[in-house]
């Protein structure tokens, strides 16, 4: 099939065309200001059918979970239940204004209060704030709380945050934004954070540690209890990156392991859609000692009445209003439908699926840490003697109708392919993925150029990323009619 380039909305624009009628003003007109008005034509001019066909055509050149298997590691691309989309669009949820009198939005405040309670229960925390808009936003929030906690105790010399070398890039980036210095710690031969390195690094400068468990290799940290103890003993706090909570919901509670603060990714564990990059939601749960520092407002209950309140020593607001409420609606519907048994079944089958793929692929690819994994695992995407690399395998997978795994992350595994199947995929899908991988491995032996030149079936072939970065064309150059 030959794909034609889709003209941009500016290229398709015809001056004088219009997409919508608006009411004629029925009030007496007021004189517009004499100066400061614009006379250019900044926007494209299209008919409504043009708009619909344009965006429909674009959607057909995009791959979502609804399209097919999407084993993008660390992102938990599970099924997004359709009922949740319907519920979030109910006028009672979609229309209320965040500044309405709390008396008039008790339904929404009840919903937020319940979500706070449920996330506390699932993570084993003393309190939750729903404010942060995404996982990284939750990290930043958690680190600001850790900072405020130490300062509140007159402890101003703690400047360092320990971070394993397998961590998401957001961890060190959030650390810098929160005014700390990130200290990278090595991993050991079993894929755990190196306990001796933790021991050596723990001193009076340490504000805390950021740890992902299961870690980004998909392995449960075998010495987590000891790591938490060491950090606490030196006066630091433990931040949990909850990106991988889809392995643990209903299985173990980070709070029970001694974590002081963790963000949840509602768009991972609790199925709110990823939206092509967002919006997500990154609520934070905390142990008792950080409770008063949470960003607000949080929702408090007084008898049958719910009201927003700022925690006593709050770090303040991290976003406007109540955070990404529309995502809370979906997450509440999801948790309500699952209960503890359902959440636990999700984690169990996410882990079952990952281990199944791991054993099915271990003969094709090197697994640097070949032990029972949690909800994801990492292999090296190299087919020896062919020059075929992780990126080539990923691109060839596109021709087989699969979204590729995460590439080149975590950084500690060369040519990493990080595979997270999630619990909502059935065995035949996993088997088809294995078959495709086997076929690609054979193709690589027979005709490596075929793989290195992939993809062949997509609307565009491999794209020149160097040219994009060097020439920086970031807006459409097509001109519309001048005003």
């Amino acid at each position: 099939m030959r794909y034609e380039t889709i003209p941009t909305v500016y290229e398709a624009s015809v001056p004088g065309r219009h997409g919508i009628d608006l009411p004629t003003p029925d009030v007496p007109l007021s004189p517009l200001p004499a100066a400061g008005l614009r006379s250019d034509r900044p926007l494209p001019e299209l008919s409504q059918l043009d708009v619909v066909r344009h965006f429909l055509a674009l959607s057909q050149r995009n791959f979502g979970v609804d399209t097919g298997f999407y084993p993008l590691g660390s992102c938990t691309m599970k099924f997004n239940p359709k009922i949740n989309e319907q519920i979030a669009r109910l006028p009672g949820f979609a229309e209320p204004h965040p500044l309405q009198d709390p008396e008039s939005v008790q339904g929404n405040l009840t919903l937020m209060f319940e979500l706070q309670q449920w996330l506390m229960a699932i993570g084993g925390f003393a309190a939750v704030s729903l404010q942060p808009a995404a996982g990284a936003h939750g990290e930043f929030t958690g680190l600001l709380m850790i900072r405020a906690y130490h300062r509140d105790r007159g402890d101003t010399e703690r400047t360092r945050i320990l971070i394993p070398d397998s961590a998401h890039g957001t961890n060190p980036a959030s650390t810098t934004m929160a005014g700390f210095t990130a200290v990278e710690l090595p991993s050991d031969a079993r894929g755990n954070i190196d306990l001796e390195a933790v021991r050596a690094a723990c001193d009076a400068d340490v504000a805390g540690i950021m740890i992902t468990n299961p870690n980004t290799i998909g392995l449960f940290e075998e010495q987590i209890v000891e790591v938490v103890r060491l950090v606490h003993e030196c006066g630091g706090l433990v931040y949990g990156d909850g990106a991988n909570m889809n392995a643990l919901a209903g299985i173990a509670r980070p709070g029970d392991l001694g974590f002081d603060v963790m963000h949840y990714n509602l768009h991972k564990t609790f199925s709110t859609p990823h939206g092509g990059g967002g919006p997500g939601a990154g609520p934070v749960g905390v142990s008792a000692r950080l409770k008063d520092f949470l960003p607000g407002p949080v929702i408090k209950r007084d008898g049958e009445h719910f009201a927003p309140a700022m925690p006593e020593k709050s770090i303040g607001r991290v976003s406007t209003f109540f955070g990404n409420f529309g995502m809370f609606v979906r997450a509440v519907a999801y948790i309500r439908q699952h209960g503890l048994a359902g959440l636990r079944a999700n984690s169990e089958h996410a882990v079952l699926n990952a281990n199944y793929l791991r054993v099915k692929l271990r003969n094709l690819f090197t697994l640097p840490f070949d032990r029972t994994c949690m909800h994801e695992f990492v292999c090296q995407g190299v087919i020896h003697g062919t020059g075929v690399r992780a990126i080539d395998i990923s691109k060839r997978l596109l021709d087989y109708g699969f979204h590729p795994p995460t590439n080149y992350f975590p950084l500690i595994v060369p040519e990493a392919l990080m595979i997270e199947p999630t619990e909502t995929e059935a065995k035949p899908t996993l088997d088809a993925f294995v078959t495709a991988m086997e076929a690609i491995a054979k193709e690589a032996q027979r005709d490596p150029a075929l793989i290195k030149g992939a993809p062949h079936e997509t609307p565009v072939r491999r794209l020149d990323e160097v040219k994009a970065a060097r020439e920086l064309v970031l807006t459409d150059r097509a001109k519309t009619g001048s005003g």
Binding site: Y3, S13, R17, H18, G19, S30, R41, P42, L43, Q48, F55, L56, L58, S59, G64, L72, P81, A88, L90, P91, E95, L99, D101, V105, G107, A121, A133, R147, T176, M177, G179, H274, G276, G277, G278, P279, R317, Q337, G339, A345, E348, V351, L352, V359, T372, T424, K427, P459, V460, R461, L463, E465, K467, A468, E471, L472, L474, T475, D476, T480
Partner: protein
């Protein structure tokens, strides 16, 4: 109910392949003392029951027809063309993630590229990112950018008190980790632009204003950028994208960075989120910007295509030295805005803006005639766009409760919550969703509520 598809047979086959006797066995790395906790959650219910239960909860909210809501202050009732939700409902879009594999994400990449293009034209800027969380966090990142440009030598941010109070709060939270930075200018709520200009000096990283400001008024921006640039600082402008259908863009009066809340562009109020952070700047600042950027390029056969570009700014490459930690953004809301702006076109957005202008002015004139009310008493001569301040003959909370209970109307924002000198003042938003009849009902209800 779960969405796990496994049959007993499949489960058994898979366990056998793995060499495990049970699923529980796969969790033996989890310390036994904490494994399989009892978690207090309600028992699961079916999809049908969830839908019913959630409808009951939704009904507990006082959700009025948008034409009966006059509350704005950062979230607005605007008409949302049907095309927007049609596009947002495409599973190929909303169930995808960040476009790290461009060959299979050309649709979203092109839509975001078009979004960037439209935002640049609308704001008069040269580069827009592919979205930020919301208007406040976009502004906070703009302030961090300005401090970064000031490279440690310029550590003061001059902040107008007429910037949305919650945005100012978010900036303060964001700067908690940036030790040297200080914010001045907004401690006295009455400080105007002329006084803010006198605060500019060699330590200033940026002047931050909102235009139209939080009170709905258009600021006198002539010569402002010159003054800021003479001091060697950046001008950061928070704006309302609907206002840009009518008024000259911040780029035309010299802004260096423009941020905005994109919610008015086809996104429902949704009790405050998710919304859309708009972030646009001069090209000179592109390498210091946060967030994803989509760039045009060609494929191996020379065909046009799109990729995420300048990733070397971002956390997954640069880690501790990244310009920001942002990863997940608000892409689907940017898609909504792109659809909205494409549907509206220049003429449509102009119509919306003019309706906002005329309807709000009509409301202001009519309310101004009521006994005990005054419109924009602090700045009666300053032009306004779609919001205005009204002084009330009594407490805002009392009047709002009466409007709601007796008339089914949601009144304005109680300005006394944020501004001491504006006790018994309310901020009212009137847009294209309010007809003359809706406004007349508000006026009659206010007359009754105040008596």
């Amino acid at each position: 109910m779960t969405y796990v598809p496994h049959t007993d047979r499949e489960r058994a086959d898979m366990l056998k392949a793995i060499g495990a006797s049970s699923i529980e066995e796969l969790f033996s790395d989890v310390p036994q003392s904490v494994r399989f906790p009892d978690v207090k959650l309600p028992l699961p219910i079916s999809e049908f029951e969830v839908a019913r239960e959630m409808q009951v909860l939704a009904n507990c909210n006082f959700a009025v027809d948008p034409s009966r809501c006059f509350l704005g202050a950062g979230v607005y009732q605007h008409f949302r063309p049907a095309t927007v939700d049609y596009v947002l409902s495409r599973g190929e879009f909303y169930t995808s993630y960040t476009q790290y594999q461009p060959e299979t994400s050309q649709g979203f990449l092109q839509a975001l590229f078009e979004y960037q293009s439209m935002i640049c034209r609308l704001t008069g800027m040269e580069v827009s990112n592919a979205s930020h969380y919301d208007g406040a966090t976009a502004l906070a990142e703009a302030v961090l950018l300005a401090l970064n440009v000031g490279s440690g030598k310029r550590n003061t941010v001059v902040l107008s008190p007429a910037v949305h109070p919650q945005y100012r709060a978010v900036i303060r939270t964001y700067l908690r980790g940036t030790h040297a930075a200080t914010i001045i200018g907004d401690d006295d709520a009455k400080t105007g632009l002329d006084q803010l200009k006198t605060l500019l000096d060699q330590n200033t990283a940026a002047l931050v204003i909102q235009n139209p400001n939080f009170f709905g008024q258009c600021e006198a921006v002539d010569g402002l950028a010159d003054a800021v640039h003479r001091a060697g600082a950046l001008l950061i402008v928070v704006t309302d994208p609907i206002a840009l259908g009518l008024f000259q863009p911040p780029g035309a009066y010299g802004a260096d960075v423009v941020t905005a809340e994109g919610q008015p562009l086809g996104i429902p109020p949704s009790f405050g989120g998710p919304h859309l952070g708009i972030f646009a700047a001069r090209m000179a600042h592109v390498r210091r910007m946060s967030g994803h950027l989509v760039g045009e390029t060609v494929d191996a056969e020379g065909r046009r295509g799109y990729v995420l570009t300048l990733a070397t700014r971002e956390q997954h490459i640069r880690r501790a030295k990244a310009t920001s930690n942002i990863c997940t953004n608000s892409a689907v809301c940017a898609l909504a805005a792109a659809t909205y702006l494409s549907t509206m076109g220049t003429q449509g957005l102009r119509c919306v803006a003019e309706l906002c202008f005329h309807n709000s002015h009509y409301a202001a004139i009519e309310i101004g005639r009521l006994k005990g009310f005054a419109i924009n008493p602090q700045a009666p001569a300053q032009p306004f766009f779609k919001e205005f301040v009204m002084r009330l003959p009594g407490p805002a909370s009392v009047i709002n409760a009466r409007l709601r209970e007796r008339h089914g109307i949601i009144g304005g924002y109680d300005l006394g919550r944020d501004y001491l000198h504006l006790r018994d003042h309310m901020l009212i938003a009137v847009t294209e969703v309010h007809s003359r009849a809706d406004i007349d009902q508000l006026v009659a209800a206010l007359r009754e509520a105040a008596s």
